[in-house]
Symmetry: C2
Subunit: 204 residues, 2 copies
């Protein structure tokens, strides 16, 4: 009753509690994962650590992988923003390339949390797959942006192809020692092809 303030947003007590529970679960999960590795932590353990039942856990998260990528939505939005707000004159493939390269460049001394997180994902195949699948969900949105930008029809298959390949580029570079260079070369291929398609060749 005496609690007056603390209601800046239109969030009822209920929704706040829900959010808190969700956060508690995600935090507990990430702690355990970082400490012992993804595969060596069970759902039951996480639920115990967060002091909820496994049933409750699965009402908040669609699966085990989703516990790790709690904020994947933000990353996806960020990726699209990078393309939309790219410097004038910069091509879309280049913007995507820069984004891909930047993502891999986090300094362990600078951002230890982010580094540990990336490491966790990087050494867990299940997480790599999940992340990549989520990544690809941006294909359609990205294709639309490309189409708008180049004046092609919104459903032009070439736009989808470029979007898909660009999102796939980091994976294509996976097995090379120098990943950054491999990514660059993959994007070179795409950019050259894209130039040919959008400029010349159409009508001889």
């Amino acid at each position: 009753m005496t609690e007056t303030g603390a209601a800046p947003a239109p969030l009822g007590r209920r929704e706040r509690k829900k959010a808190a529970t969700r956060q508690a679960i995600a935090d507990a999960a990430l702690d355990l994962f970082l400490e012992r590795g993804y595969d060596d932590v069970s759902i039951r353990e996480i639920a115990d650590a967060a002091d909820v039942s496994t049933t409750t856990l699965f009402k908040h998260f669609s699966g085990k992988e989703a516990l790790v990528f709690d904020r994947q939505d933000e990353m996806k939005a960020h990726q699209l923003a990078v393309v939309r707000e790219r410097p004038r004159g910069q091509s879309i493939p280049v913007a995507l390339r820069e984004h891909a390269l930047r993502y891999r460049q986090i300094n362990p001394d600078d951002e230890p949390e982010a580094a540990a997180f990336l490491d966790l994902v990087g050494r867990t195949p299940a997480l790599l797959d999940y992340q990549h699948a989520a990544w690809l969900e941006n294909t359609t949105a990205l294709a639309r942006i490309i189409a708008e930008d180049s004046g092609l029809p919104a459903d032009d298959p070439a736009c989808t192809a470029l979007a898909h390949f660009a999102l796939e580029a980091p994976r294509a570079a996976r097995h090379h020692q120098d990943r950054a260079e491999a990514i660059t070369r993959a994007f070179d291929l795409l950019e050259q092809g894209w130039q040919s398609i959008t400029s010349g060749t159409h009508k001889p």
Copy 2:
């Protein structure tokens, strides 16, 4: 006692029985899958139908998906062969494109079994993912062929990128009504890019 012949190949009784068991399992699995759908058939049912234990089943197949793609090895080999034995003068991307297009063109009236199989795979996400992963395992081999053919170093990232993207092309075309056209356009992008890379830039 009266069984005299029937040992033309260097296959002992043992290996024949093993192969028979494996085949029985795969057949039972495919029958059930086609009849009721992949997700609605359990491993235990398949094992029962083939009259073996689940333990035995898993000694023959690495997982549930592997029951469906019993002959994936042949398909992979075939794919590489298509590239190696392509008509003189035909580029590698074109050979891959033709192969990709041909794979999708099976006439239900002509090859009902193959059609039913493709349909089963096509409507089961788990199987699509598994198939695609197996598909991508050809990336390295394909990259090597591309490198040899174009005189680039065997580990040139551009070759890996082209191989990866080409294998990815069918997926990029997934959401278009006219899949064949979408695949063609995706390969156009790759081919143009590849030409630019291999013709120009080498040594000015």
